[in-house]
């Protein structure tokens, strides 16, 4: 149990709290209802913390795409009961809470690598390096993006009927 040092746990919590602030801010651009905003902050915290755990825990050390998928999966599963509780479509707060995990920095690096690749005057060793960087960062971006959505959406598909009728206020009578 030496891996669960105080420092590691503290790092996870810090990571989660920063993600919660980031999640709130990115969520509010899309004008969610107030209650959903709080929940998406909480889910962003849990999801990002999970991702940090999967990436830095000594026994797992997952890559970014896999760890993000795990974080998103947890967000998706937690989103369904919250959706039933406040009677609001799950994606209204599940999607904004994914936003801090969107791999913007990798997309940025992809673009930078592309620019350097184009700018290099002749094909040399550096150019090869830029091509590798371009594909590495680009594929990480795409896979992480897909992983995020698939992770968050799988629970919605498992509870398909519930997730489309959560906004119903009147309970369904016998059909």
């Amino acid at each position: 149990m030496i891996m669960f040092t105080m420092k590691f746990i503290l790092a996870i919590v810090t990571d989660g709290l920063l993600a919660a602030v980031a999640g709130t801010g990115f969520a509010i651009i899309s004008n969610p209802p107030r209650k959903a905003l709080l929940i998406s902050a909480f889910l962003a915290c849990v999801g990002h913390g999970t991702r940090y755990f999967f990436m830095h825990f000594a026994l797992i050390q997952a890559n970014l795409a896999l760890a993000s998928t795990m974080g998103a999966l947890l967000i998706g599963f937690l989103a369904i009961p919250f959706a039933m509780y406040i009677k609001c479509p799950a994606e209204v707060f599940a999607f904004p809470s994914l936003l801090p995990m969107v791999p913007g920095l990798y997309a940025y690096r992809t673009v930078i690598a592309l620019m350097k690749m184009v700018q290099s005057p002749s094909v040399n060793v550096d150019t090869n390096q830029y091509v590798v960087q371009f594909f590495h960062n680009g594929m990480t971006t795409i896979l992480t993006m897909c992983g995020l959505v698939v992770g968050a959406v799988v629970p919605i598909f498992i509870f398909y009927k519930q997730s489309f009728s959560v906004t119903r206020t009147k309970r369904e009578e016998k059909k």
Binding site: G25, I29, L105, Y108
Partner: protein, 269 residues
Amino acid sequence: MRLNRKLIKSVFMDIHTQLKRVTMFLADYAATLMAVGTQTSRVARNTGRIAESFGFHSHIMLFSRNVIITLQDDDGRHSYTRVQKIPSLGLNFATNMNLSKLSWRAYDEHLQLEYLEAEFKEIRDKKRESPWTVLILVSFANACFCRLFNGDLVAVATVWVATFVGFYIRQQLTKLHWRQLAVFIVSSFVASMIGSTGYLCHWGTTPDMALGTSMLYLVPGVPLINGIMDIIDGHVLAGMSRLINACMLIICIAIGLSIALFVTGIKVM
């Protein structure tokens, strides 16, 4: 005979007018839902549900700029079709939630069309969060985002300022009805100019993080997620158009960034 014919005519007019009015309302309803960033399958379901509460069958096609909807009565003898342009409203999840709720209420309580129209107008015209709240929260969010990538405090402060100014410009230009692509180029340019001050003045230890995260608040996360969700759901065309739209915006962010790098002459990496 004459009376009979008149009767038939009046019944005919009645059902046709009714179909027409419900279709007009539903076209507006579906277009608004698409505009505020609802996933396509939910739009189709919500619209179909309201149509069902009036006893009509609905057939709907959803594209990125237009909605086509046909309503049919029970025996299929009368139908009405409408093509509606999707307005540009900006993402709004509160509208999404309230309109979804309205569709279930219409289904469960068999609400009258006049009532639905009034409720719909009220939901659509509800005020958004104040732009200043949004501005401050987005600034803090992007600053925290920089911290998540191990930027130091100088970088965090730079990113806060860059986001504040960049997002303010985005809000103002959107208010002036600029094209969204142009707004993104300008906003990204300004944000990365401010983000690059760390490089230019040799502040802090992680100026690359300050530059790299300064315009990330522009990344269109919700359209990207919605697009992939739509493709998984089987609405491939709608999903692809959302994804391509999002990619266009990302390219615009990159253009703004490259102009800034060109102006400042920074060599990154």
